[in-house]
């Protein structure tokens, strides 16, 4: 037979557990446990909304279509800007290690709000014009994106290793920081390599 003190310990333990259980709804409102990892996604899909059939060999006055997407896993709604930039092989990409964006000015931009756990996708239609070739160099005068024409005036030398005149259309993801009341580079970028093949 157990002693009275042992029974008292059992009753006290049951009491404590019971009180905690009954108080748990209130504790759930007061105590906030840390959530999972906070991050955002940025992607580019081909014309069929799949990771295939990306434009690669491009020419002048031909329309190309890709889809740009953003996914939010930041734990709350987020305000993003996707900057679309255009570069040749000698110009800088963002530095993922340092977390710094490319110094190139953005041509096109998408501003968007995405709820936590949701995603956003939009088409990016683009075409090139004023394209010319001379002495192992190609020149691109204008780039049209979603109906807006931008003067880019870029040139690319012939890439002996990869046999082509390579340019890159890339997108950077920026996020609005409420604390600093400004956009900051979110260290996410994706790009499409484009080989300028003809006028």
């Amino acid at each position: 037979m157990l002693k009275l003190e042992d029974y008292r310990t059992v009753f006290a333990s049951v009491g404590l557990i019971g009180v905690l259980l009954f108080a748990s709804p209130t504790l759930g409102l007061v105590l906030h446990l840390p959530g999972g990892e906070k991050f955002s996604e940025l992607w580019v899909l081909g014309p069929g909304h799949m990771a295939e059939d990306y434009p690669f060999n491009v020419g002048a006055d031909v329309n190309y279509l890709v889809y740009v997407g953003v996914g939010n896993h930041m734990g709350c709604s987020a305000y993003y800007v996707v900057y679309v930039k255009f570069r040749n092989q000698t110009e800088s990409l963002p530095n993922a290690t340092a977390g710094t964006p490319s110094p190139l000015p953005p041509l096109f931009e998408y501003r968007l709000f995405v709820e936590d756990g949701k995603s956003w996708e939009a088409p990016l239609r683009f075409s090139f014009s004023d394209v010319s070739f001379s002495e192992n160099r190609s020149f691109v005068g204008s780039l049209m994106m979603n109906g807006v024409t931008f003067n880019v005036d870029k040139s690319a030398s012939w890439d002996v290793e990869n046999n082509g005149y390579y340019y890159q259309l890339f997108m950077e993801l920026w996020i609005y920081n409420v604390e600093f009341q400004a956009f900051e580079f979110h260290n996410r970028f994706v790009g499409l390599w484009l080989n300028m093949t003809g006028v």
Partner: protein
């Protein structure tokens, strides 16, 4: 003399045109900046409403349309379409201010709602936990009395191998 007068007139005309263009560009830049600030403030208000527990899906949907117009204003400004930029920026500010008011209202009602839920939960939890504790104390009282009574009813037994 006529040549000099013509030159001065041409110079003044060019100066006025330049000043007019600069003013228009400054005005467009200021309008676009105002629109950006309006959207930023609105987003902050929507975020606060969301943190207060409000459903902001509808507001974000309208805000997404508004920032689409803001992007168009930015691009129009960069491409030198100053009138287009001003028009779109104005449109953006008007809609953003409307959403800001909605967000503030939503936040206030969500805060009140959250506070009411908190207090009612606190009261229910406290009453339940208190009732459980009191019940347990009563059961303990009954149990310990029964235990002692049972203990007192027990008869002492003497083992046969104990020395007298």
């Amino acid at each position: 003399m006529l040549f000099f007068a013509s030159f001065v007139c041409l110079f003044l005309l060019l100066s006025l045109t330049t000043v007019g263009m600069a003013t228009s560009e400054n005005e467009a830049a200021a309008k676009v900046s105002e629109a950006e600030n309006a959207v930023n403030s609105t987003y902050e208000a929507v975020l606060e409403a969301e943190k207060a527990g409000a459903n902001v899906t509808g507001l974000l949907s309208v805000l997404n349309e508004t920032v689409g117009v803001l992007s168009e204003a930015e691009i129009a400004y960069k491409n030198g379409d100053l009138d287009g930029a001003i028009g779109k920026a104005d449109q953006c500010v008007t809609v953003a201010n409307g959403i800001l008011n909605d967000a503030l209202t939503l936040k206030s009602s969500a805060s009140e709602n959250a506070q009411m839920i908190f207090w009612s939960t606190l009261v229910y939890s406290s009453v339940e936990a208190g009732a459980f504790a009191i019940g347990l104390v009563l059961v303990w009282g009954w149990f310990s009395r029964r235990y002692i009574k049972k203990l007192l009813k027990m008869k002492p037994e003497v083992a046969s191998d104990v020395e007298a």
